[in-house]
């Protein structure tokens, strides 16, 4: 009996100790609210671990669910929450959160500028005030199966089928091109070719996978289509230009592919994770996706179906060449926080060459200066292409950084996905979005 009592006692003591450890957070520790998912998250964890080894004030990471991340963050900061000291910033949401964040213009010193280019800092600047340090530059690539495309370029019987399909669906016989030279017609033709329900000899079930879930981030991916035809939210005079040829063509690309079943029928529920699963399991020939996925796919042993057989390039071109939406995610300071000094210390650390080099090596995609890039990017194609693509193809929509940008993307997501799902015709969708933009920018 005594032994049991002793055991129970030590268990209780142990439980107490654990509980105490769990609940005590030293008063100077800070919480960092960051973006969940993918290699960037893992890389940030490593950087934070390193910081905690060398700093008195510990940093702890916090994540919200991806789906309602920004909603929750807004509700919390508006309620004066002190639950996080360092918080996520994004180019398209700076205007919205600016009232709740601490400006950090004074932190942009020589060290920071040797880590990030001025252009990168600008993506975290709203109306002259810097609100965050850019930790991730996000843009979109065309991910494709090299083995399949190479085969297509050299196999004459495949090319015959390709010509037949393109004639039937696009009205003209086409020849396959190298992926980096594609325009959207090539994209469509190739997607049709690689879809088994259209071409029974296709080595994969689907040509592409489109992310069509009612989610604002999916609109950012899709925007490349409209932008490549010259589409924009507004023109130089501030008129809303959604009702344009460019937008209609862009919307039609997705709709046609979906109706032709060149993308899985479940695409209407797909976003980042599902699309990656589709491509990573070898069932899809190519797709457009966030740059962040690359670092995940190159992990050895995790995606055996595509290992060594895929690569990335720019999105297909429209009349204005290829275009890609881009933005940066960053970390800034919650104005409500009681630990402004500790938060600043953490950000200072992030702005050092050392921190960002580590972040880069571990899988993140920081918009760092050339010296760091050259030293550490290794064979990370996504990093090597990042600066060039942003410079050549990057497009920020006119108004895309204003306070209402967020709600605008959400509204587009609701209307455009309804159109793709067949619940709404394209004119109604465009009218709805135009009205919403007018109301937003009139505020």
């Amino acid at each position: 009996m005594n032994k049991i009592k002793a055991l129970i006692n030590s268990l209780v003591a142990g439980l107490f100790a654990t509980l105490t450890l769990l609940s005590i957070s030293a008063s100077a520790n800070i919480t960092v609210l960051a973006w969940p998912g993918g290699p960037a998250e893992e890389a940030l964890r490593k950087v934070v671990d390193h910081y905690n080894k060398t700093s008195d004030s510990k940093a702890e990471l916090l994540y919200f669910s991806r789906d309602n991340f920004f909603d929750k963050m807004l509700a919390d900061v508006a309620a004066g929450s002190k639950d996080f000291d360092v918080m996520l910033t994004a180019t398209y949401s700076l205007g919205k959160y600016a009232p709740f964040m601490t400006p950090i213009n004074d932190m942009v010193n020589e060290e920071v500028l040797s880590t990030f280019s001025q252009g990168a800092i600008d993506t975290q600047t709203y109306q002259g005030t810097v609100y965050g340090l850019p930790t991730d530059l996000s843009l979109h690539f065309l991910y494709y199966r090299e083995d399949l495309i190479n085969e297509l370029l050299s196999n004459s019987s495949w090319q015959a089928t390709y010509a037949k399909i393109s004639a039937e669906y696009l009205g003209k016989e086409m020849k396959p091109k190298a992926a980096e030279d594609w325009n959207w017609d090539d994209f469509i033709a190739s997607a049709l070719f690689f879809t088994r329900s259209i071409n029974p000899d296709s080595p994969v079930p689907y040509g592409t996978v489109l992310q069509m879930k009612n989610l604002l981030f999916n609109i950012m991916i899709w925007q490349g289509t409209a932008a490549s035809y010259g589409g924009d939210w507004r023109d130089a005079d501030g008129n809303i230009t959604i009702d344009s040829d460019a937008y209609r063509r862009g919307l039609k690309i997705y709709k046609d592919l979906f109706d032709a079943e060149a993308t899985p029928a479940d695409s209407l529920s797909y976003e980042y994770a599902e699309a990656n699963a589709a491509f990573g399991s070898g069932k899809v020939a190519f797709y457009t996706q966030w740059s962040a996925a690359y670092a995940d796919f190159i992990k050895p042993g995790e995606y055996p179906a595509i290992e060594g057989n895929f690569t990335i390039t720019n999105q297909p071109a429209g009349d204005m060449g290829p275009k890609t939406h881009f933005h940066s995610l960053g970390l800034g300071i919650n104005a409500n926080s009681d630990k402004q000094d500790e938060a600043r210390a953490f950000l200072s650390f992030l702005g050092t060459n050392e921190a960002m080099s580590m972040f880069l090596k571990e899988g993140g995609q920081p918009p760092v200066t050339d010296p760091i890039m050259n030293a550490h990017a290794g064979d990370r194609l996504d990093m090597l292409m990042m600066a060039e693509h942003t410079a050549k193809y990057g497009k920020v929509m006119n108004g895309g950084t204003e306070g209402g940008a967020f709600a605008i993307y959400a509204n587009m997501a609701e209307n455009f996905t309804a159109y793709w799902a067949g619940d709404m015709d394209v004119d109604t969708a465009i009218v709805n979005v135009t009205k919403f933009l007018e109301a937003e920018f009139a505020k």
Binding site: L19, L22, T31, P36, G37, G38, E41, R45, V48, D49, E60, L61, L62, Y63, F64, S65, R66, D67, N68, K72, A75, D76, A79, G80, S81, D83, F84, Y272, A273, N276, A277, G280, S281, G282, K283, D296, G301, E302, Y303, P304, A305
Partner: protein, 281 residues
């Protein structure tokens, strides 16, 4: 007791029943089974298409989810335990005396009881928003206490109905015995009736605990990181790990383990108590 079925087809009917049971049990439990299996698969196995059915199991997902770095699964489980347990206990201590008063003296049985049972039927979102704003004003957001108050509120309707039903069946003679000794109502309540009600109190605790543990909406809205219950915490893993279904599956298996195990004890009570409570209420 069952009347013996006549006829030579008895065995085949029996076999059919078993078959039907197995089929139904498999279909409704498919997601749970699949999730548990997935939690033991390696990432490469999970990413294979079509899904493989035979694989060598690994514990790597559990190790990752429980012990690696900043994954707070243990804290979420702790939160859920405190919130569900605290809420259930609070609900019991608020409802039991009230049920006694309603049954023995008819106090509040005409207005409070129907009101409380009606609460159960309202879409919770109706309260979520004003509670969010209220909690923000008094600083109860993202706190154990705040969530306990919420889970207690959700558990009260069922607790009250079940207690009323049970106490109704306790013969008044029990009270009489106490009264003869000059006991006040309070003494009768706690020293006589409450101990006698152990089965129903346990049943209520189990049911409330399970329901509170599985609460999602209020956990989503009213917590950020400190008091986040495991139902919300598990959804972080879905998106946090992107395509890492293995870790997600491990997190989810751990999250549903407590209510499922408790449920194995609680299931007899659900039917009996729901029915009698509803019929009498």
């Amino acid at each position: 007791m069952i009347v013996k079925e006549k006829g030579a087809s008895k065995n085949s009917i029996e076999a059919l029943r078993w078959l039907l049971f197995i089929v139904i049990a498999l279909i409704i439990n498919l997601p749970i089974i699949a999730t548990i299996l997935t939690s033991f698969k390696t990432t490469a196995d999970i990413n294979s298409s079509p899904p493989i059915f035979f694989f060598s199991p690994t514990l790597s997902n559990y190790i990752e989810v429980l012990f690696k770095g900043n994954t707070n699964l243990l804290k979420y489980i702790l939160n859920s335990t405190i919130i569900a347990g605290g809420g259930s206990i609070l609900a019991i201590f608020l409802s039991f005396p009230a049920a006694f008063a309603m049954v023995r003296h008819g106090i509040g049985s005409s207005w409070l009881l129907p009101l409380v049972t009606n609460i159960r039927a309202l879409p919770l979102i109706i309260y979520a928003i004003p509670l969010y704003l209220m909690f923000q004003l008094v600083g109860l957001l993202d706190s154990w206490l705040g969530m306990i108050l919420v889970t207690a509120t959700i558990s009260i309707p069922v607790a009250l109905v079940l207690f009323v039903g049970f106490i109704q069946d306790i013969p008044i003679e029990m009270d009489e015995a106490g009264r003869l000794d000059g006991a006040s109502q309070r003494v009768i309540l706690w020293k006589l009736i409450f101990p006698m009600s152990r089965p129903i109190v346990i049943a209520v605790f189990l049911l409330s605990f399970i329901t509170s543990w599985n609460e999602f909406l209020f956990g989503l809205i009213l917590t950020t990181k400190n008091a986040t219950p495991v139902t919300i915490g598990a959804t972080f893993f879905v998106t946090t790990y992107g395509v890492k279904w293995g870790a997600t599956a491990a997190a989810m298996t751990l999250s549903v383990l407590p209510p499922v195990i408790l449920g194995l004890f609680a299931y007899p009570y659900i039917g009996k108590s729901m029915l009698s409570g509803a019929v009498k209420g």
